[in-house]
Amino acid sequence: MSTSSAALDHSHDDHHHGPAKGFSRWLFTTNHKDIGSMYLWFSFAMFLLGGTFALVIRAELFQPGLQFVEPNFFNQMTTMHGLVMVFGAVMPAFVGLANWMIPLMIGAPDMALPRMNNWSFWILPFAFALMVSTLFMEGGGPNFGWTFYAPLSTTYAPSSVTYFIFAVHIMGASSIMGAINVIATILNMRAPGMTLMKMPLFVWTWLITAYLLIAVMPVLAGVVTMMLFDIHFGTSFFNAAGGGDPVLFQHLFWFFGHPEVYIMILPAFGVVSAIIPTFARKRLFGYDSMVYATASIAFLSFIVWAHHMFTVGMPLAGQLFFMYATMLIAVPTGVKVFNWVATMFRGAMTFETPMLFAIAFVVLFTIGGFTGVMLAMTPVDFQYHDTYFVVAHFHYVLVPGAVFSLMAAAYYWLPKWTGYMYDENLGKLHFWMSFVGVNLLFFPQHFLGLAGMPRRIPDYALQFANFNWISSVGAFLFGFSQLILLVVVIKCIRGGKKATDQVWEGAEGLEWTVPSPAPYHTFETPPDPSLIKDQ
């Protein structure tokens, strides 16, 4: 502690001091750039861990029959893979980007609540250590899917479920603190002249995402607490034998879960809306409608949750309501896609790695959106539900969707973070291997689902063999390609061609007015209002 307070005292009289040295720099830091970097490294580590779990799954599914793992361990792998990817890889990565970029984009010196920022990061590694450690406990780790439906996750759960519940509580607390920080920063710390309707879309999408987080993470905390009571204190929230209702669990879970999927995709929209104009050298088309579309998607995301539950036996009126509401979400989502295409239309495009990932995002996310509209049609969803068609759908929106936008963001801002250009050839190699891999991996899963393969099974009937092995080949190709990113980042940190302040010819916005690499402290005095342009 003495180091950090010394550093703080120091900063009053010296504006250009650097970070503290050694491990305590990272442990005690309240600097948004340090914390952003830690979030990004942490999420990349979780991405590799979750990816390893996925490869165990895909290795087992390479051929029919049981080869490598027992069914019970297989279920632990699907569960851990889902949990680690959602809560460990994608969400923290966007928080990392928010930390790094929001102050730079709105001309603020740091996040509004820097000590809480430190705290919200540092509890995460403990949450995940706790969760992953359950795999080594007697009886094994969580094996009930990332959706942890009761009573499989209560009465029938392995005893490690209690640790899982505490881990989820910690992750939830971390997310809520992160969200409060984002809101406080955006609402209070914008530079003079940075009106709301001049904020970059990444800032807008994060503002809205933060409200979603604050609204739904407490519901998740509530539902796991109810589980805890059912398991240890004799209540029967979800136990029919005691007067409870297992379907109530699903309503509560998806009231959190559906907004959760938008939490993972709205900031991605923001990233893509920053990158496409830069490399098309043309202003974003329909900025205002982008903001309104984001807000309406966020609103609608609260009233569609039961589209994940069309087969639980809801009354007809309920089914119809959730079908119509879900179909409606396609409209603002469509507006976004059309706007991105219109931005590229009659631009002057170049295709550096961030742009490649962003274009792939637009195409492949849209394919995931198409299957989403199909899934919204209740009677047809009876056929799609809980099959590989759903697995294909949500991976198209999450992997070439959310994850590709993260890759794009990393390449786009890496020169600003490190001060050096990354290796463009390696970047392109990474893109093309990922692109081919991801489609080989997930496209055939549409066919598997339609032909009748349920999800979450360790073994399957012979007619599913062909597409499964293609999918597994794609999985290994995609998985190992991600190591290229690691190489690119390490090389780029160690040196390379010096990056200019603006980095990209078409880049606009406050973050490109500071030097590369961005100094430890930026915008200690607000930027000149004339630098703030219309979006």
Binding site: G139, Y149, V337, V363, T378, R456, A461, I470
Partner: protein, 382 residues
Amino acid sequence: MLSKAKLWLSLAVGTLLMWSTGAHAAWELNMPRGVTQISRDTYDLHMTIFWWMIAIGVVVFGVLLWSIINHRKSKGAKPASFHESTKVEIVWTLIPFLILIAMAVPATRVLTAAYDASASDLDIQITGYQWRWEYSYLPQSADEEEVSFFSTLATSREEISNSMEKGENYLLEVDNPLVIPTDRKVRFLMTSADVLHAWWVPEFAVKKDNVPGFINESWVIVEEPGVYRGQCAELCGMDHGFMPIEVHALEPAEYDEWYAEQQQLALAEQELANAELSMDDAMAQGEEIYTASCIACHQAGGAGMPPVFPALAGSEKATGDVQVTIDTLVNGVPGTAMAAFGRQFNAVELASIITYVRNAFGNETGDLVQPADVNAIIEGGQ
């Protein structure tokens, strides 16, 4: 392991094959059209929405591709400066909206039809268990016996562990299939005895969750006799992948014959319950039941997977007081994965499996349990 080059080669060949033999089941690309009116309506909806999505995709990706080809800086393109147009934006908000309404109308119609489970000719209760199905034909009149049986995976463990060649219906075959008549409205009442399951037969377009403590409805009128297969579609624990569904749809006359036969069998079974079992019969039947219903948890040789699934070899509950063993099997151990088997098996079967557990795996207690002993516990009011 194949070398990488070979993998790519076979992949290319595979893709070619895929287009040339589209009809072959192993390369099946699409949903079955099915054998009920609802399943065909569902299929048609699926195809309509699919073509709409393709059409939108062609337009959007077409413009995107065209821009990528023509509006690149390397070709000397100069960026235009437009960045909004209220007119265009209203148009591309309205068009998707109208397409969605056009889709919502038929979807509502099909859903409403699918939800009308009234006026059925026959009611069957489908109960999910970890990891088998129970089918109970609800008696239509007071003098009918209830026909009820369990349906369990018939694929052998050897096929699953790859020590034997896999049969044609690998993982999709059961010991006792559900039998239903064609051309009659059969209503299914879905529930569960433990966790969630979902009963799904693609050719019927029926998928409904089995929720413990609640009853869900669904129905079919199958139009073609035949064998239809499906699987459990809701994660229900370890052997979720191993509880398939097999339905035999028979012509009504054939079905009636089958049903009459089942009535006879149900009566005979009641008589059997009063009979005496021999040690050999009990052990033989017990071993069969063990392999089908217990081995997943308690493992071959009764070794178990401690600490989750206790070993039965040498277990106190399997070798001590015989009443305890009977109670464990009939009533299960509440709050654990050990289910109550009292309803899943009849008295003869229970007596056999209990005898087996008490004498196999070196447990040699020498006890022969009779159906009457089991009935005493069942009727003892538990």
